[in-house]
């Protein structure tokens, strides 16, 4: 453990001492495998992540395995550790990561990539996979960004592609067996690379065309699969779920019980990666969820519970679940938080029961400012639905509205951008029409936020050209000016982001193996905690690209041909490239696609034979 002097000097000692409620202690001499599970960002963010809690719980249910946690030390402790040559340690045992069998790193967003190098370096594990020896842990990545692992492929020994619940047992058994029989690290990695869902980058060779795009991507050995199929839980009600999640001492971002009600989404928004990766939609049984909620509240003592899914309104048993939660939570004085609900009569009724209407705000995510562009992105939300929802909400007492849009979507014109301002104004207008003067409490408060669109792998927009930084900022300026010219401009507050980080995200999202050198370079120059605006240093990143001879535009603004081999094409997430291309063309044609409950679009996910794919379709109602 860090000595008292260090702990007293640093800002948040509670992030490094472990010992939290429900953290798991085991006798290291009685286990075969020691697994360090890492979220490469600060404790407060990492501890808020459900996926880690699921894997942590699952691995610790295995008698032969002890899973511990590790997070990125904040810059104050980072400096102390380097100065005093203290190796990075896991929270539970407080022992060095270097002594573990596995270091698992979850990849939730691209801007944590430099922190991966920090974790490896502080752990004294060589940052490049090729430099590691039998004395080093196996470094394995997982999570959404592992669906394009190529920009960081050279730092990892393995990637786990897909949902974590299914293949770890087999991977650990293989490891145990091969370690016992004296096999080398390379021999193990080769065998692991044959397991379903496990990708071992060093077993594949990439060649490039003269224009820099991929010519071939092939296994170096005959017994290694050319395509990696994602792993997926087929029956969500019958798998691991952390009924005793770890309860941090300090306040973290997500300080509540999280109930994951389903995976996948029926909506098929064309910009959304999660909507494709986690197909098909699978629901958890409502009685299982009631039991989970009860147990988790009891085991944690949390004062709040939240539902988690991509679109909670699509959960078929939602009314029954919410009735149960309201009754149970009222009795126990527990708050209910309901994110990602579509605004309609039902959700407004529910929300008025669980939150203080005066304090809470309504959230709409139209994503685009015009109906034309909403059709392009297949966001099935019409202006009529938004305005009706707003009207009902204003009648119910709400007067705060949050609106989320994206700028830089394919085919976007000035009209679409100005549409954001117009829609914001229309909502304000509805308020003043709906709520009589004597009932108003000041102005309606509309907060309009735009983010910049980043094309992601495994979406119909993976072929799209991304805007440049300058274009992004021009677009934000157009929206800002358009809002200023609205009648109700004083009721609208407009937020937008800096564009530098977005451009980098764009590079990493669709990057290839050439990017790893740039990331290493930037890290060595001092880039760290890039998702923290106070630490993000765009200048150092630009220098790194230049010094490595890597063009940013090649990854972001370049027009990609329909038959280009993408760096992530060797992965199958269940959705075919043909389907994505069809959707890309429909997008350019401004044609919408029905959702999975209305009519099957033949994306390929029905091959799993589970979830929404097995339901009777309702047909398209237009």
């Amino acid at each position: 453990m860090l000595n008292d002097e260090i702990l007293l000097k640093i800002e948040k000692p509670a992030c490094y001492i472990g010992g939290e409620v429900n953290s798991v202690m085991k006798d290291k001499d009685n286990v075969d495998i020691r697994f360090a599970m890492c979220f490469p960002d600060v404790y407060e963010i990492g501890m808020s992540h459900l996926g880690i809690q699921i894997i942590y719980d699952m691995l610790n249910r295995f008698e032969d395995t002890w899973c511990e946690r590790v997070y990125a030390p904040w810059t104050d402790l980072d400096a102390v550790m380097r100065e005093n040559e203290i190796p990075l340690f896991a929270l539970e045992s407080q022992e060095p990561i270097k002594d573990f069998d596995f270091l698992g790193i979850t990849l939730q967003y691209e801007m944590c990539y430099t922190n991966i190098l920090q974790i490896l370096e502080l752990s004294r594990i060589p940052v490049w996979s090729k430099d590691r020896t039998d004395a080093d842990p196996i470094v394995i990545g997982g999570g959404p960004c592992s669906y394009n692992p190529e920009p960081i492929a050279d730092f990892f020994d393995l990637f786990y592609i897909g949902e974590g619940e299914t293949m770890y047992r087999r991977l650990l058994d293989l490891y145990k067996e091969m370690k016992k029989s004296g096999h080398s690290r390379d021999e193990f990695l080769h065998e692991a690379g044959k397991l379903p869902g496990i990708y071992c980058p060093s077993l594949y060779e990439v060649t490039y065309k003269e224009d820099g795009t991929i010519a071939t991507f092939t296994p170096k050995f005959e017994d290694v699969p050319a395509t990696i199929d994602k792993e997926m839980v087929t029956e969500l009600s019958d798998t691991y779920y952390p009924l005793k999640p770890v309860v941090p001492f300090i306040k973290v971002t997500q300080d509540r019980v999280v109930l994951e009600i389903m995976r996948g989404c029926i909506r098929g928004c064309r910009f959304c990666q999660a909507g494709q990766l986690y197909r098909p939609l699978r629901e958890r049984d409502v009685n299982v969820l009631k039991n989970y909620a009860f147990e988790m509240l009891k085991n944690t003592g949390h004062e709040e519970i939240s539902l988690s899914s991509l679109s909670s309104s699509d959960y078929s048993q939602l009314p029954e679940l919410i009735d149960y939660l309201i009754e149970e939570c009222n009795r126990k004085k527990i708050n209910i938080s309901l994110p990602s609900l579509r605004i309609d009569a039902f959700s407004l009724d529910v929300m008025s029961k669980v939150q203080d209407v005066k304090k809470s705000s309504l959230t709409f995510a139209p994503e685009a400012g015009s109906q034309r562009l909403r059709d392009v992105i297949n966001k099935g939300l019409t202006e009529e639905v938004i305005l009706n929802g707003a009207r009902e909400a204003f009648e119910g007492g709400w007067n705060k509205v949050k609106l989320y849009f994206m700028l830089g979507l394919p085919t976007e014109t000035r009209d679409d951008m100005e549409g954001i301002a117009k829609l914001s104004n229309e909502i304000a207008k509805v308020y003043y029409e709906t709520v009589p003067k004597e009932k108003r409490q000041g102005r309606v408060q509309i907060v309009t936020s735009t983010s910049f669109f980043v094309p992601k792998p495994f979406t119909p927009f993976q072929w799209a050209q991304m805007s440049t930084k300058e274009e992004f900022l021009d677009k934000a300026y157009i929206v800002k000016e358009a809002i200023k010219s609205q009648l109700n401009q004083k009721s609208i507050k407009y937020n937008w982001h800096e564009a530098d980080v977005t451009v980098l995200e764009g590079v990493f999202a669709r990057g290839d193996r050439k990017i790893s050198e740039v990331i290493y370079h930037a890290y060595k120059k001092g880039c760290l905690f890039d998702s923290w605006s106070e630490y993000f240093n765009n200048e150092l990143w630009l220098q790194s690209f230049e010094e490595c001879g890597v063009s940013i535009d090649f990854y972001t603004t370049r027009k990609r041909s329909e038959d280009e081999i993408f760096p992530w094409d060797f992965i199958s997430c269940g959705v075919s490239k043909e389907f994505l291309l069809r959707e890309w063309k429909k997008a350019l044609d401004e044609t919408i696609s029905p959702n999975c409950r209305q009519a099957c679009q033949g994306c390929g996910a029905s091959g799993y034979g589970v979830g929404v794919c097995t339901e009777e379709k309702t047909g398209v109602s237009l």
Binding site: D4, F249, N299, G301
Partner: protein, 236 residues
């Protein structure tokens, strides 16, 4: 509603958990232990819970107190055991007492606290620590400059130090000092001033401090009679 006074100890890595986080910790612990704690009314009800004297980060304690309200109660021991079953390593519930209805709340009852202070290995005092304690205490007044939010002010420590001794065998200092909200004295502050008196200077990390207990005064201001905070409660 019945009022209970709970005494707990805090050791090991838990000393790095600050006061506000300890409050959050106990709020969650009450739910895990299924204590029938009382809630305030209103749109967002909160538990009826108040702490006696905040403990600084880095300080261990054998005598921390909080008051809670409960709507029902089987026995003091039942609550003590139920809470101890859901505690983390380093925090132990030492006693649970029922307070008389007219009892003053924990925070305003606090009059004094007793601390023991030992020395980190590499910071052992290199002078006769015992030698000048009596001289120090015999001064007419012990004037020190205290930094406050509004600037600095001069105060006399003397009436706030009730005892200050050194055990040369165990090599620990023991002190009983004012811990009331109006005159709370930090033990390290006294140590630093004593070092200065001896012509030495103390560093930030020299001392390991343990709060041994927290006291209320059942005597008078002139003739104090300090008793532990749970003295005023009874088993149920």
């Amino acid at each position: 509603m019945m009022k209970l006074r709970i005494k707990f100890s805090k050791h090991g890595p838990m000393v790095f958990i600050g006061h506000l986080d300890m409050m959050r910790y106990f709020q969650k612990a009450m739910r895990r232990a299924e204590v029938d704690i009382s809630y305030s009314s209103g749109f967002s009800p909160h538990q009826i819970m108040s702490f006696a004297a905040p403990l600084g980060v880095g300080i261990a304690s054998n005598g921390e107190y909080m008051d809670i309200g409960v709507d029902s109660l089987t026995s003091s021991d039942q609550i003590k055991d139920a809470l101890n079953r859901v505690m983390v390593e380093g925090v132990t519930i030492e006693s649970v007492k029922v307070l008389p209805e007219n009892a003053e709340n924990a925070m305003s009852s606090v009059a004094a606290a007793k601390y023991t202070i030992s020395f980190r290995e590499k910071y052992r005092p290199n002078f006769d620590l015992f030698g000048q304690i009596n001289d120090y205490l015999d001064q007419e007044c012990i004037l020190v400059t205290k930094e406050t939010k509004k600037g600095t002010k001069e105060i006399d420590l003397k009436p706030h130090i009730y005892s200050f001794t050194f055990d040369p065998d165990k090599k620990v200092v023991s002190m009983l000092v004012d811990a009331s909200s109006s005159g709370n004295i930090k033990p390290v502050f006294v140590m630093e001033d004593y070092y200065k008196y001896c012509g030495k200077s103390a560093g930030e990390f020299d001392f390991i401090v343990t709060r041994e207990d927290t006291y209320t005064n059942i005597g008078t201001d002139e003739m104090p009679n300090f008793v532990p905070l749970d003295y005023v409660g009874e088993d149920y």
